[in-house]
Amino acid sequence: MTDLPRPSAPPVSAPTPGGSNLDVLKHQFQQIWQVLAALALIYMVFFVLSEPFRSFDTLLSIFGQAAILAILACGTTVVLISGGLDLSVGSIFAVVGVIVGIVLAEYRLPVPVAVLIGLAAGALMGALNGTIQVLTKVPAFIVTLGGLTAYKGIAEILASGRDLSRFPENFQVLGSGYLVPMGIMFGVALLTGLFLTKTRLGNHAFAIGGNEEVARLSGVNVRKSRIYYYMIGGVLAATAAILEVSKLNFAMPARGQSYELFAIAAVVIGGTSLFGGRGGVGKTLIGMLIMQTIIVGLSYLGVGTSVQRIAIGIIIILAVYWDVWRRPAR
């Protein structure tokens, strides 16, 4: 840049304060405090109502049960921020579980190899979802609805007539107990968060989800980026599947059913926009914790799973209503 003459025009507006790191932090906190407050409030309610809920073990089990779905939901967060939607991640989860099961139980390959094969399968299925969309321009809802049933069918074919259980000891470590899955959950969330906020591809997810046309005109390779976001969603669904297969010590194609819906629910409860352009994995973790706290809390109060489902359904609608309501008119 060479010197520009200083225009004699009056300022666009009065100087606006701000710009220090503290201002930036404050700005970020403003976007998350409401969901954090909601989580605290819900936790407090059950804390008051139920004696056994107050134990530390309960808190641990909330995190532990949230872990696998939260990992999957981190991928869903990326896809939704980019303005996409992947309804097939539950079925990707099933396929990966079965593949990893076969690799371990039948071919007896080393655990790291099995994990890598599982992650690659997830990446491939995610990439396929994205590629079909950008090539055919069929809406994400339809393409991934197709994926939901097609991948499920693949999982069933792969699993039929096979006994996929009793995996090696060193594989069972991954998903057992609460601590390892929780650690992996925080690791995945941290990496996904860094990806979204610190990298070029991650930032383009917000740009594409916010205004695809502006992103395209700015030189962003929208199609290629989209495929990457679906790939990430697939890899994280695979990660979650591997943890669950390890935890259960068996694999079957029925696993993962409706997981995509729970993931989307956690993402929107956390405050990531269904319309794209806004959100983050921190919010998704909080959203998942809100959901699990309600499920665990209600069961401590003796409320059955059917009523729990109704409660979650209402909360999802409220969360999306909030998303629509705060979205500025354009």
């Binding site: 225009p7 025009a9 666009v12 507006s13 701000g18 930032n203 502006v214 030189g219 500025p328």
Partner: protein, 259 residues
């Protein structure tokens, strides 16, 4: 400037045509942009002004037409190719992403990556460097926005337009194309935007500016082209026309005099 420079336009477009199905949005329009000039493009709503610049900058594919830069044929089929040729564009209503901060908007598609092996491998962004460059530029242009970490939707129309224009100052190398830079701006903010346009020119860029404001044509443009119903109706030196004549050309009332 040598004789050859004045003879060969910086940008020469011939027969630019765009069909949308049966609709002829643009019918064989010619355009010459000379080095260092501000070329106004005027015409009624729907005359094809935005279509013309979108076709020139690869935002849409053109049905027919050729473009030369410095007398040489050039193929611009994507916005990225236009940028590579030194053409920076502010599109109508498509300048900024509401959800992105000012910093991210300014650098969208051209982010500065950390200059380390890790940075190049994973595309990790150097926000500190981008912030510094933007603050320096804003200060130079007298754009008083300090909270550049805020999302673009938090700013007024004038501020947003100032950011969009600052982007062309930052990245424009040869040509700046502006689609209604003062649309929906107040008097003071319009003046500010137009001063930014003038500083683009002073910076050595040639400018194509679409506008509905005849005063801006008279005060800031060297030449003006008039589009009517997708066709080129007239090209004039601004020194040779007045506002009323221009309005006549736009509406077609002056049709006979043109021919």
């Amino acid at each position: 400037m040598t004789q050859a420079d004045t003879a060969t336009p910086l940008l020469r477009a011939r027969g630019i045509t765009k069909h949308y199905g049966a609709v002829v949005a643009l019918d064989a329009v010619d355009l010459d942009l000379h080095a260092g000039e501000v070329l106004g493009v005027v015409g009624d709503n729907g005359a094809g002004k935005s279509t013309l610049i979108k076709a020139l900058t690869g935002a849409i594919s053109k049905t027919a037409g050729t473009v030369e830069m410095d007398g040489k044929d050039i193929q611009i089929t994507t916005p990225t190719e236009a940028k590579a040729a030194g053409i920076e564009t502010v599109y109508q209503d498509l300048a900024l992403v509401n959800e992105l901060s000012i910093t991210k908007n300014m650098y969208l598609g051209r982010e500065i990556v950390r200059d380390t092996l890790f940075g190049h491998l994973f595309g990790t962004l150097d926000f500190a460097k981008m912030d510094t460059e933007i603050r320096a530029l804003f200060q130079k242009l007298d754009i008083r926005i300090t909270d550049i970490y805020r999302e673009a939707e938090a700013f007024s129309g004038g501020q947003r337009q100032a950011v969009a224009l600052a982007k062309t100052v930052m990245f424009g190398k040869r040509i700046a194309i502006l689609d209604e830079p003062t649309a929906a701006l107040g008097v003071r903010e319009s003046k500010m935007a137009m001063d930014l346009v003038r500083s683009l020119k002073d910076h050595g860029l040639s400018v194509i500016m679409i506008t509905h404001n005849m005063q801006h044509v008279m005060n800031y443009c060297d030449r003006v082209m008039v589009l009517r119903l997708g066709r080129l109706a007239a090209v004039r030196d601004v020194a040779d026309v007045d506002g009323d004549t221009l309005v006549g050309l736009i509406t077609g009332a002056a049709e006979d005099k043109v021919a």
